[in-house]
Amino acid sequence: MRRFLSFRDFDWTLLGFVMLLSVISVFEIYSATLHTKFVGFYRQQILWTVGGLGAMFAFSLIDYHRLLDFIHWIYGFCLLSLIGVLVVGTKVLGARRWIKLPGGIHFQPSEWVKLILIVAVTRYFCGLVGRKLTWPDIFKAMAMVGVPMLLVLKQPDLGTALTYSPILLAGLFLGGIDWKKGSILVLAGLLVVGVAFTSSKILKPYQKQRLTSFMNPDADPKGSGYQIRQSLIAVGDGGVFGRGATKGTQTQGDFLPIPYTDFIFAAFAEEHGFIGCVLVLLLYFLVLMRLIQNAQTASDLPGTFLVMGVVAVLIFQIAVNVGMVLGLMPVTGIPLPLMSYGGSSVLFTFLALGMVMNVRMSRFVN
């Protein structure tokens, strides 16, 4: 069957919001790195954004049904790449997350795994449509997400590993898990978290400390509470109107940790205040609502599943990252999509959007 795709059906509104966020991101990275040795990073971010845009357009032309057809191969390859990182990866700050590619590019496979998992989970649950989920179904889904999750956890990269969980949750939710099983899973999840905290094997001590320090950042203001405390100071320092671009003392004085990646929202909050922050959150809200609208209008179930997977990942990352910056969530090292500096993260987001675009463009195609 011939497919005809037209960029007229492309979601230009969605792209507009996304590009607004990307531009804000570039400006904030410029400001946050102005007085540091990372001063040129905003140019890098522009390149990645442009590259991401190209990748998005290219990816939007690939029929998502093709992706679904070949996902088991891609999934297998993705597991191999994660194992590869553990074996030959470059160690940065004590964690092996990167594969060095020819041409000096460092590539972080764990970001892409998100996309692959979205597709894989979609295919899995759409295959089960029409009947109630049984425990074996659930366990298989958990295994599918859990194996790469454990591999990433091993790197160790707690933050990225955690971003896989919303994919599974969204899949189970949309796949039709009943209340009983759902409640049991929630309880079991709580149990696992409890065990992870009491056992010394699963989480490293610094991870545990990071996860708990947000509840009382003053307990150890020089140690694990330092980041969160400086972040809170930065956000509060911004006030209603902010201190102005490149004028945030927390950001410019290097008090705020990594103000161009994980804590970019704090830097933005200090320099642009409550008003700026609400505007950015509004943009995210519009992006998400636009995505859900695309999910609603998707031509088939897998399309809806795919878009909702993207929505789940994005809302999770936004909630955890901004929550962390505001002291409502533990410090997990999850980047803010479309804002944080980082090529892998930018590319993931744009590829995911490309996939969404394909779903949208396919809605009248049959």
Binding site: V129, F173, G236, Q250
Partner: protein
């Protein structure tokens, strides 16, 4: 691959329509739930932002400011101390202190061993400092080590990048005269103690402040200390200075001119030498202290840099109490010096004039034998004082009764603080029937009065009390409050505050009949010519005084004043003055376990001689208008004209009192002595024990 198999079949293009029909399987409500979740998340995040940026923005802003603004203290130099001629007595010298800045984010713990090594400290010491200052605000740098050496300074500079938490501050440290010159008078400074910090009176002190802890340094701390300033600098998270905000200048402490005359002080220091005890020299016209020495003493320079625990323990546990200023903080029975007060009481009561006693080596009173040192034979008041006849004063005391004696003694300041402007003066003891009842709830026994008559028993006096009392008697009953700083040179409110906080007998006038005054002053003059202190006679100087030998062990037990066991030896007193009437200087010497008062007389003579010598040279223009620089230990003391404390020539005081008194007053030349029988006595003054 079973996992994928099922779907692979269905998802093939042919079955696409199959899938489409199943779209209905996904209830729209689920996507709506997603939307609500997103709205909820956004609401929570905006609430979080609201809380931080709108509700509490002020306090977070303050924290952000505290983060990047660091207060670097600028320490105020303490006021200098000068002697009465404007010669520098206590100076400051530049020194570097190391501070620890805690506001950086990184953990200090790993750096501590290196810091400890570089600063020649132990990690435990640093921990103790951190613990001590745990309540201080984070932006406040902690004093880590004071007066660091050049190599320690170099260590800090070399490690500036790795350890920005180390900060050096230039400051002024105290430089005192060497060898404890006037140390007990001047006092010392030290870091403010925790007790002081908890005391509401010292609320303006902050941890690490250097404060006066004794002597003039303590009494005038509020004037001397000045006010520290600070420099606000902008720093980044590594503690690097990236800008300046402003400077709050420090206010240097006020310089003080003491009433001390360095020449007299030096003479007194030399006179007392290694003997234990105290010398105080005072101008009885004004109460200005000219010299004040206490032995043993200490080196206050050791306190300027924090004193080691061992050294401190040695100082405070030393049985000779080197930190005690014995001129105002040691009390002892005044011995025969009290007879001057007895004479005032006896004569003013009209009793002593016609009182005659036949001294046969003592007297039996109330069934007790009270010994005298000699068989004086017929003794009247005019001989009793210079000869220091105990029998006469036993009888006189018994005749007057304790309450009459106490009345005069109290009026002359016995048993009360003098109110000198130095901390921790003690009051001494003057017994009376009321005192016995109050203190011991018993009645006073008449026999006790007999001992009091010769300054033994319960009577106890400090050198400053005796100097004030005897100087006042010789001045015709005009007593002055002793002081070491010129009150006129203090701010008015400070002057009254000092008067209130150092209360005492102060200024007082006791009526003394001129005839009685003459009898007493002549008697004291005779002490140094033919009396008990004739060996200390000063040729050509109208030198008067009274010896005192106060038994440490019970007087009536017959223990020799000069004992081979030092601790049983009597305390030797002498209060001397020149000239005899309206004296310009009164000197009290308290020589612990010195043996006989006559030995102390010799020390007083040296001080008086130095004083008179200086006055004569001034009177005859033999010295320059400006006082000469004096080397006092570490300090080369120059008359300091630039600070307005410059050397004013001392104007010889005009004679005071009635014409009879002025014959010898105001100058020190005596008419040629009628009988010059003790010309060579000075040479063997100490060798001879004179009764």
């Amino acid at each position: 691959m079973n996992l994928w198999g099922r779907f692979a079949k269905k998802s093939s293009a042919q079955d696409a329509s199959d899938l489409l029909t199943r779209e209905g399987d996904l209830p729209a409500i689920k996507l709506t739930i997603f939307q609500y979740v997103i709205v909820a998340v956004m609401a929570v995040l905006i609430f979080g932002l609201w809380r931080l940026q709108v509700v509490n923005a002020e306090s977070w802003r303050a924290l952000a400011e505290a983060n990047r603004i660091r207060k670097v203290p600028i320490l105020a130099p303490r006021g200098q101390l000068f002697d009465r001629d404007g010669r520098l007595l206590v100076d400051n010298y530049p020194s570097v202190s190391c501070f620890l800045v805690r506001e950086q984010g990184h953990n200090l713990e790993p750096d501590l061993p290196l810091i400890a090594r570089g600063l020649h400290m132990t990690v435990d010491q640093i921990h103790a400092i951190l613990k001590k200052y745990r309540t201080a605000p984070k932006y406040q740098p902690l004093p880590l080590k004071q007066d660091i050496t050049p190599d320690e300074q170099e260590f800090i500079e070399a490690h500036r990048d790795e350890m920005p938490e180390l900060e050096t501050v230039d400051e002024q440290r105290r430089l005192y005269p060497k060898d404890g010159f006037a140390a007990n008078l001047i006092g010392y400074v030290g870091e403010v103690s925790e007790e002081m910090l908890n005391d509401p009176r010292y609320e303006y002190y902050e941890p690490g402040d250097v404060v006066g802890k004794s002597g003039v340094e303590e009494a005038y701390d509020a004037l001397l200390r000045g006010q520290d300033g600070s420099r606000d600098v902008l720093v980044d998270s590594h503690g690097r200075e990236v800008g300046k905000l402003g400077t709050e200048r420090s206010k240097p402490g006020q310089n003080l001119r003491l009433t001390i005359d360095m020449d007299i002080q030096r003479a007194a220091e030399n006179a007392l030498g290694d003997r234990e005890g105290a010398i105080v020299a005072m101008d009885p016209h004004t109460g200005e202290i000219l010299a004040m020495v206490s032995r043993p003493t200490f080196d206050p320079n050791a306190f300027a840099v924090k004193i080691g625990r061992d050294e401190w323990n040695k100082l405070i546990t030393d049985p000779d109490h080197p930190l005690l200023n014995k001129a105002i903080q040691a009390q002892s029975p005044p011995g025969s010096t009290f007879k001057v007060i007895m004479s005032v009481a006896g004569l003013q009561e009209g009793v002593a004039q016609n009182f005659k006693v036949n001294c046969q080596g003592g007297a039996t009173l109330y069934g007790h034998f009270y010994a005298c040192d000699k068989h004086h034979g017929e003794v009247d008041i005019e001989h009793a004082l210079p000869w220091s006849c105990d029998t006469f004063y036993y009888m006189l005391a018994a005749r007057l009764g304790i309450d009459t004696v106490a009345k005069y003694a109290h009026a002359l300041g016995m048993g009360q603080k003098t109110g000198i402007d130095l901390p921790d003066e003690i009051a001494g003891v003057m017994p009376s029937t009321e005192w016995a009842m109050k203190q011991y709830h018993r009645k006073w026994y008449a026999g006790e009065t007999v001992s009091v008559g010769i300054g033994q028993g319960a009577v106890a006096a400090t050198p400053i009390q005796l100097a004030r009392a005897l100087g006042g008697i010789a001045s015709g009953g005009v007593l002055k409050r002793p002081h070491v700083v010129f009150p006129d040179e203090l701010p008015a409110e400070y002057r009254s505050a000092m008067r209130d906080s150092f209360s005492g007998s102060g200024d007082a006038t006791i009526p003394i009949n001129p005839d009685n005054w003459e009898i007493i002053t002549d008697g004291m003059a005779e002490t140094t010519t033919s009396g008990t202190a004739f060996a200390s006679h000063l040729e050509g100087i109208d030198f008067a005084g009274k010896t005192g030998t106060a038994q440490v062990v019970n007087h009536s037990a017959g223990v020799k004043s000069v004992s081979s066991i030092k601790s049983e030896r009597a305390n030797a007193w002498f209060v001397g003055m020149a000239p005899r009437r309206n004296p310009d200087i009164v000197v009290a010497v308290f020589w612990q376990h010195g043996g006989w008062g006559a030995g102390s007389a010799h020390l007083v003579a040296k001080v008086i001689e130095a004083y008179v010598d200086k006055q004569r040279r001034l009177n005859n223009n033999l010295v320059a208008e400006k006082p000469q620089p004096v080397e006092v230990g570490a300090v080369w003391s120059q008359p300091n004209d630039s600070k307005g404390l410059g050397g004013k020539p001392i104007d010889p005081r005009a004679p005071k009192g009635d014409p009879a008194a002025t014959a010898f007053a105001g100058h020190f030349f005596l008419p040629p002595p009628a009988k010059a029988k003790n010309e060579n006595a000075k040479a063997d003054a100490l060798a001879t024990v004179v009764h």
